[in-house]
């Protein structure tokens, strides 16, 4: 049941209803004064008629006000409607049906909400009369679609048939924008019908202020698909990597966070992990009411490179998105050559001891991403540097010529050199041999008692190898470390990556071609610092090694949400070329690669379906450019939340447009419209006659 006006602009005339009252008040102010002898008779008369006079007076005022109100309402032409049917007469109708095909419709209406919504849309479109025009706008609209008002019912019904449930949230702003754009053309009667489950997520993102077009005179009727019972409702909130990274045959820890949206505990949810289409592990989980729980999986990948994975939930009657994709970039083992310049009979006392343990903690074959090989300084001449991604020199006294000769090519080819200081190092030899390669000129050695060690004070927090210090535990560990011996270094105007409290550099870096050289001015063992005993040592060494190797640590990418934009960073040489993207539904598209500062970027916006998107790079793109081979697009987490926006809140969101919420069942019942113009005209005439009669009696 609703009341609306064909010409609501006339309602402004209701302000005129105050005119009789204003005139009454003005008259009271403008009194005429008359001196009169028989005031006593006037008083007597007033007393005699006081009650009836006042009654008539107010009645007259009320009748005059009512007459204005009736006239204004008559001009605005009110229509009274029962049910939710279309206009029954009164000229051609321009109707826009907004069909909510967001993901939450999958579970609304007790499991068949989208079917109900399509049936309701079908009813509306079938009710069109000759001369009426309509358009069907799915809420998954992104703005690119061409939609027009049309009068052919059969075409509209075919369009309706083709609408599928989307993987994302309802784009209510875009959909309403399109509706107002379509209805901006002159038409007799305009109406917007939104068939929806009133999912909270879509409305959370909606703001009437964001609309480019808006016409508050067009009524918005929200046809609500409701559910009888609240289902068990949960979804996958997050997938993240635990442990050191993703490497070939390295234990892979994956943690899955599940969230419940229901008030009751959800027991025995089967959580499955699959990688590359193969089921790797499955577990049962219990979700607390409106709480979260984590499920850990441990597995391995045997092949390097990109892998797709999926986590799925299974339980009868469980509503909410139960599938989440992710991608893995499994890294082959990094080969590291460690040159120990001060070997001891006791391994613990060797300079390389802590370093090799940091890179290969468990000491088991295949348990680490790194494969360190320790040699003595004598072996440097014959070492095949190209067999290793990173070479680490620990307290090596002098650098053989043959090694230095190979080093330049090795570094330009992308190799990494990590040099630790120590008492054996001959600084002149280093300065001479590495004049073109060293990040700093080495000067005198500075040592003191352990107790007077310097704190590690500053570091470049933006440095890729030092991102580990975003972890407060590791940062605290770094700051608690002391350095009591180091080789002073002149960084030649460059700022040190890590510095001591007294300002002397602890870690300096130099890029050579695609390779990098890092000097650590203190020792790799406990001779000059207690750093090897600290928690931070292992991740710092691994991170520096990873960085020097030029590759990324094996990553797990949980993907992006549907309709988000995925940006792929590429080598600058690819600007102007294009990237081919294969969507989960096998559709291909080309995405141009554009320049952005010192790199190239491909922004992939067409991510409307959940699943794995595979990328094909243009010819000439280096395989090891670091760009992902694939990425996952997942359904928005909150779209699984089946909470609805309240009717009042919805009306507030749509204000000043007049919004009415109608259950879908009311639409099926049809309805009746009554034009109230004639009854209002009769009322107006009666009011005027009464006013005239009463006015004459005064």
């Amino acid at each position: 049941m609703s009341l609306f006006f064909l010409y609501p602009a006339f309602l402004l005339g209701l302000l005129a209803a105050s005119l009789p009252i204003l005139i009454h008040l003005l008259n009271r102010r403008r009194l005429q004064r008359i001196q009169f002898p028989a005031v006593r008779f006037i008083l007597l008369s007033q007393k005699r008629i006081s009650r009836s006079y006042r009654l008539r007076h107010w009645l007259l005022l009320a009748l005059r006000t009512l007459a204005v109100v009736f006239l204004v309402l008559l001009l605005a032409n009110p229509i009274f409607q029962t049910g939710a049917g279309l206009f029954a007469g009164g000229g051609p109708v321009s109707l826009v049906v907004l069909l909510d095909n967001s993901l939450s419709m999958t579970w609304s209406g007790d499991g068949n909400g989208f079917k109900q919504a399509k049936e309701a849309a079908g009813l509306l479109l079938s009710a069109l009369n000759a001369g009426d025009r309509a358009a069907l706008v799915p809420t998954s609209i992104t703005g690119a679609q061409t939609i027009r008002l049309k009068g052919q019912k059969d075409v509209l019904l075919r369009e309706l048939d083709a609408v599928e449930i989307a993987d994302g949230t309802a784009h209510l702003t875009a959909a309403l924008d399109k509706a107002y754009e379509l209805l901006s053309e002159p038409a007799g009667q305009k109406e917007i019908r939104l068939i929806t489950d009133m999912g909270l997520t879509g409305w959370d993102q909606f703001s009437i202020a964001a609309l480019k077009r808006f016409d508050p005179s067009i009524p918005v009727k929200v046809i609500r698909i409701s559910r009888k019972e609240q289902p068990l409702n949960a979804s996958i909130k997050a997938i993240r990597l635990g442990g050191q990274g993703v490497g070939v045959n390295v234990p892979l820890h994956i943690e899955v966070t599940l969230a419940s949206f229901t008030d009751q505990e959800i027991k025995d949810v089967l959580v499955q992990l699959s990688i590359g289409g193969q089921n790797k592990e499955q577990k049962l989980a219990t979700l607390p009411p409106r709480g979260e729980t984590s499920v850990s999986f441990q597995t391995r990948v045997s092949q390097p490179g990109a892998h797709s994975g999926q986590v799925s939930l299974k339980k009868d009657g469980l509503a909410g998105n139960g599938v989440a994709d992710f991608t893995l970039d499994a890294q082959d083992k990094l080969k590291v050559l460690i040159v120990d310049g001060d070997p001891q009979t006791s391994l613990v006392q060797s300079d390389s001891f802590f370093l090799s343990r940091a890179l290969h903690p468990a000491g088991e074959e295949g348990s680490s991403l790194f494969l360190p090989t320790v040699i003595l300084a004598d072996g440097l001449n014959s070492a095949a540097l190209d067999a290793y991604q990173v070479v680490v020199l620990c307290n090596v006294a002098t650098l053989p010529d043959a090694f230095v000769a190979n080093l330049q090519n090795y570094l330009r080819g992308g190799g990494g050199l990590l040099v630790f200081g120590g008492d054996k190092i001959q600084t002149d030899n280093y300065n001479q041999k590495l004049a073109q390669l060293a990040p700093a000129e080495l000067r005198e050695k500075k040592t003191g008692p352990e107790a007077s060690g310097e704190k590690i004070d500053k570091f470049d927090s933006a440095h890729p190898a030092l991102q580990i210090f975003s972890d407060p535990i590791l940062l605290e560990s770094l700051k608690s470390s002391r350095v009591w011996g180091y080789t002073r270094a002149n960084a030649r105007g460059k700022s040190a990556v890590v510095s001591l409290a007294n300002g002397d550099p602890l870690l300096v870096e130099q890029k050579i071609g695609d390779g990098k050289v890092i000097f650590v001015t203190t020792t790799a063992d406990r001779d000059w610092t207690d750093l090897p005993l600290k928690t931070v040592y292992l991740p710092l060494i691994q991170s520096l090694t990873q960085y020097l190797a030029g590759g990324k640590r094996g990553q797990l990418d949980p993907g992006i949400a549907v309709d988000s934009v995925k940006e792929i960073a590429l080598p600058p040489g690819l600007v102007g070329k294009s990237l081919r993207v294969a969507k989960p539904n096998k559709q291909d598209s080309e995405v141009p690669i554009v320049g952005a500062k010192d790199r190239a970027v491909a922004a992939i916006a067409d991510n409307d379906r959940a699943g794995i998107y595979r990328l094909s790079f243009p010819a000439g793109a280096a395989k090891d450019s670091g760009a992902p081979q694939m990425y996952a697009v997942n359904r928005p987490f909150l779209e699984s939340r089946l909470e609805e926006i309240g009717e009042r809140e919805l009306q507030t969101k749509l204000a000043p447009a007049r919004a009415e919420v109608i259950p879908v069942e009311a639409l099926k019942e049809g309805g009746k419209r009554t034009d109230l113009a004639l009854p209002l005209l009769a009322l107006l005439i009666v009011t005027l006659l009464l006013e005239g009669w009463l006015g004459q009696r005064f």
Binding site: R28, I34, F36, V39, R40, F41
Partner: protein
């Protein structure tokens, strides 16, 4: 000629004549009324007959010449034309100073009083005037002298309207001062307590006076012909104010006023008092004719 007759008594025409004496003569002469001879016997200058003395007759009225001639006592009797003593009581309260159109009630009352005085004196009756508000403003005792009109007119012209009405009390006072019976003519708008007015009038009647009441009203007092929201302020009690829309109360007002008039008329009739409602728009001859009709 007819128009000229009419103009003699038209209050609007009279209002244009500033001199009250002239106004009174204008009215009375226009009335064209003959002088009546009194059938009552009394003191006069014109001898009519003799009659034999009877005990109780005044000794000074014995005709001594006839005693010498006839040796019997005869009493001389004269034709009496001056046995009427008229008191003209004029209400000079502030409420009389009202005119909706043309002449005020007070001007009208003065003209009426002066005309009556002129007429009475012309008929060789005695006429006197009392003007009053809440007290007696002027008291001119009745005399039958022809030139007495000047004194009466002087009393009328000497003071304008003012003060509150207290007709009942004034009538009491005047009644105490009048020793001989005669005619009491009250010219007033009677805007006082009806009971008090009637009480005073009754006292005159108890003393054997004839009483005529000329109830003066402005037509606006009768009809309340105003429009719009009006604050009415009383002419006498200045703090008495009332805001009203006259259209809303007109019918009731007219009913109230008519009830007042009817009540007055009835009470006067019951007490053998001659009551005449005179509107200030009414030609003056009507009032005078009613007097003459009473005079016979």
């Amino acid at each position: 000629m007819a128009d000229a007759d009419k103009n003699y008594f038209d209050p609007k025409v009279l209002a244009g004549i500033a001199n009250l004496s002239l106004r009174a003569r204008w009215v009375v002469e226009g009335l064209m009324s003959g002088v009546h001879k009194s059938r009552a016997k009394g003191f006069s200058v014109e001898f009519e007959e003799h009659r034999e003395y009877s005990p109780g007759d005044e000794i000074r009225r014995i005709d001594w010449k006839a005693l010498g001639k006839f040796d019997r006592y005869f009493i001389k009797e004269y034709e009496d034309e001056t046995n009427l003593r008229a008191y003209l009581l004029l209400d000079a309260s502030a409420s009389m100073n009202y005119a909706s159109d043309g002449i005020t009630k007070f001007d009208y009352a003065c003209t009426l009083t002066a005309s009556l005085a002129y007429l009475i004196l012309k008929q060789q009756d005695a006429a006197g005037v009392v003007t009053f508000s809440d007290r007696i403003e002027a008291f001119v005792p009745p005399r039958a002298k022809r030139d007495y009109l000047t004194q009466i007119l002087h009393a009328l012209e000497n003071r304008g309207p003012g003060g509150e009405t207290n007709v009942g009390k004034i009538l009491d006072d005047i009644a105490g001062q009048i020793k001989r019976r005669g005619l009491i003519v009250l010219v007033s708008d009677l805007l006082d307590e009806p009971a008090a007015i009637l009480k005073g009038l009754r006292q005159f009647r108890f003393k054997g006076n004839d009483v005529i009441v000329f109830h003066l009203m402005d037509p606006a007092e009768l009809n309340l012909p105003f429009d719009g929201n009006i604050q009415f302020e009383d002419l006498e009690a200045t703090d008495l104010r009332v805001i009203t829309d006259p259209r809303a109360i007109r019918a009731t007002y007219q009913q109230v006023v008519n009830e007042f008039i009817s009540d007055m008329r009835k009470q006067c009739h019951d007490n053998a008092i001659d009551y005449q409602l005179i509107l200030t728009a009414t030609p003056l001859d009507q009032a005078l004719r009613s007097y003459l009709s009473w005079r016979g």
